[in-house]
Amino acid sequence: MHHGLAVLTALVGILVVFIFLFLLQESWPLLSKISPSRLFTDPSWHPSEEYYNVSAMVVATLLATLGALAIAAPLGIAFAIYCEFYAAPYLSKALSSILELLAGIPSVVFGLWGLVVLVPVISSWEGPGTSLLAGIIILSIMILPTGALLARSSLANTAQQWRQASAALGLSRWAMVKTIALPASKTGLINALIIQAGRALGETMAVLMVCGNIVAIPDSLFAPVRTLSANIALEMAYAMGDHRAALYSTGLILLILVTALLCFSRPNLTERSHA
C-alpha cells in the first residue's frame, strides 16, 4: 500500500514542475524565435505587429501589489493584534469567524462592487475611474481577511509565560505587543506578508474588472493599467500563434515572479486551514 501512496504523492509534487514545463513548452515557439530580452525592450505590446513588450504590465502588477500590501498589511496586523491582545474572548472569537467568512468571498464579488460602486466614486475625483487606485483598493480588501488570520495565528504563538511575565512586570499592553509579541512573531508576520503578496500578484478577476486594462506605465494613481494576469484573461480567447505563445510567456513570467517570492516563505498550515 505504501508504495502506491508514495507514487501518488510524487505525482502531486511533480505537478508544479509539470505546470512549469507546459508553460515553457507553449511559450517556446515565441521564445525560440525572438530573444527573451525583447519582452522588455520592444517599443510596445502589439502582438499583431510582433511587438511583445510586457514591462508596462510587470510595472503595473508590482505597483498594484505593493499598493495593496501598503494598505492591507498595517490594517491586517492591527486587526490581528486587536483580536489576540485587546478584544474580550467572545469578541475575538466572533471577529475571527467573520474573517474566515470574509476570506471565502469570491474575488468577482469584490470586483463587481468595485466596478459598480468604487469606480464611479474615483471617477468623480479624477480620470476615468477604472484605475490603478481602484485596483489597489479592491486587492487590499481581498487580501485583508486571510492576511489578518495568518498574522493572528503567528501572534498567537507568543508564549504564555512571556505574556504573564510582561503583565507581572507591569508593562502596558502596547509595550507587551511592541517589545514581545511583534518581535517574537516577526517571521510569521513576514511569511503572511509574502503569501498575501503572492496572492495579489496573481489575482486576476477583480483587477481585470476595475483597472481599465490599458497597457501603459501609470503616471498617477488615477491612470488605468493592465496587469500581467489581466492581459492573459483578456486576450487568451482570441490569441493565435505567436500571440498565444506571448501570452504563455506572460504566464511564465507571472509564475516565476510568484515562485521566487514563495521560495522565501514556508508552508503555513494555518493558512491552508483558513484560506
Binding site: 505537478l15 492591527a78 459598480v116 503572492g198 515562485t259 514563495l262
Partner: protein, 290 residues
C-alpha cells in the same frame, strides 16, 4: 531565543500612549469591518431587489439579461463535484503518505522536497493553472472546453488545501491511540483504516468544505477550461458556465447585465456563507460525539 529589550521597554511607554494606541488599533478594526459591511450590504440590497424564486429555476436568456441561473448552478455543481471526486482521494492519499510513511531517514528529505513543491503549488496564480489546464486537459487530453476539464483544473488548486489540512490532522492524532494499537499488535494498515481515518473524519469535512468554497470562488481557472456557454450541460464533456464566470461576464461584457450580476453575486455569496455555517454546526456535532 531572540533578545527582547524588556528593560529598555518599561520606561518608554506611558499609559496615555498605550490608550491612544488601543484606540488607533480599534479604529483600524472598525474601519475594516465597515468596508466589508458596506460591500456585503451593497451586494445584499441590490441583489435582493432583482431576485425571485424563478431566478433559481429558469435558464438564462439573452446572454443572461433575462431569465435565471439554473443551468449555471448545475454547471457549477458539476464542476465542484468533479474537482472533489479527483482531489479528495488524491489529497488524502498524499497526506497519508506524508504523515505516516515519510519519517524514515531515507524518505524524510524526499518528503521535505515534496512538501516544498506542494507549497509552491498552493501559491500558483489561478490564471496560470487555467493556462496549464487549457493546454493539458482541453488540448492534449482532448477534453475541449468541458466541465471535466474545468473540474480537473480546479482539483490542481484544491489539492494543496486538502493535503495541508489532512496532514496536520493525521499528525495531531493523540499518541495514546497509536500506542494502544501497537500494544495490541494491530497492523499498520488496520490502524490506518480503523483508527486514523475514522478519527480524522471532521478534518475531512473541513478540507472538503474549504475546497468547495475555493472552487465556488474561483473564476480565472475556469475561464478557458470549462467555457462560457450558458446552455444546460448534458454530460461532463459539455462546456458549461459557472457562477463566478457568469457574474464576471454579466458585469463586464453584457450591457445592462448589472442587475442580474448582482442577483447572481448574492446567490453565490449566500451559498458560501450558508456552507460556512452548516460546516461549523456539523463539525461541532462530530466533536461532541467523539
Amino acid at each position: 531565543m531572540p533578545e527582547f529589550s524588556l528593560y529598555k521597554g518599561i520606561p518608554r511607554f506611558s499609559l496615555t500612549k498605550s490608550r491612544l494606541i488601543h484606540g488607533l488599533i480599534a479604529a483600524a478594526v472598525l474601519l475594516a469591518l465597515c468596508v466589508f459591511g458596506f460591500v456585503l450590504s451593497d451586494i445584499a440590497i441590490k441583489g435582493w431587489r432583482h431576485i425571485d424564486f424563478s431566478f433559481l429555476t429558469e435558464n438564462p436568456l439573452d446572454s443572461g439579461r433575462a431569465g435565471g441561473v439554473l443551468s449555471i448552478l448545475v454547471s457549477t455543481l458539476a464542476v465542484v463535484l468533479i474537482c472533489l471526486f479527483i482531489a479528495i482521494p488524491l489529497g488524502v492519499a498524499t497526506a497519508l503518505w506524508l504523515a505516516e510513511f515519510s519519517d524514515s531517514s531515507k524518505t524524510r528529505p524526499i518528503a521535505a522536497w515534496l512538501r516544498r513543491l506542494i507549497h509552491l503549488l498552493s501559491g500558483i496564480p489561478s490564471i496560470v493553472i487555467g493556462l496549464f489546464g487549457f493546454v493539458f486537459f482541453c488540448q492534449i487530453l482532448g477534453l475541449g472546453y468541458s466541465l471535466l476539464a474545468g473540474g480537473l483544473s480546479l482539483a490542481c488548486m484544491a489539492l494543496p488545501l486538502i493535503i495541508g489540512t489532512m496532514e496536520q490532522d493525521f499528525r495531531s492524532l493523540p499518541s495514546s491511540l497509536r500506542q494502544a494499537s501497537s500494544a495490541l499488535a494491530i497492523s499498520h494498515s488496520a490502524f490506518i483504516f480503523h483508527i486514523l481515518l475514522p478519527v480524522s473524519a471532521p478534518a475531512l469535512i473541513t478540507a472538503t468544505v474549504l475546497s468547495i468554497g475555493r472552487s465556488l470562488a474561483e473564476t480565472a481557472v475556469l475561464l478557458f477550461t470549462s467555457g462560457y456557454v450558458t446552455r444546460m450541460p448534458e454530460s461532463v464533456l459539455d462546456p458549461g458556465r459557472v457562477m463566478s464566470v457568469h457574474i464576471f461576464d454579466l458585469s463586464m461584457n453584457v450591457t445592462g447585465g448589472d442587475n442580474k450580476a448582482y442577483a447572481s453575486a448574492l446567490v453565490l455569496t449566500a451559498l458560501i456563507i450558508a456552507l460556512n455555517f452548516f460546516t461549523k454546526i456539523v463539525i461541532a456535532r462530530f466533536k461532541a460525539r467523539l
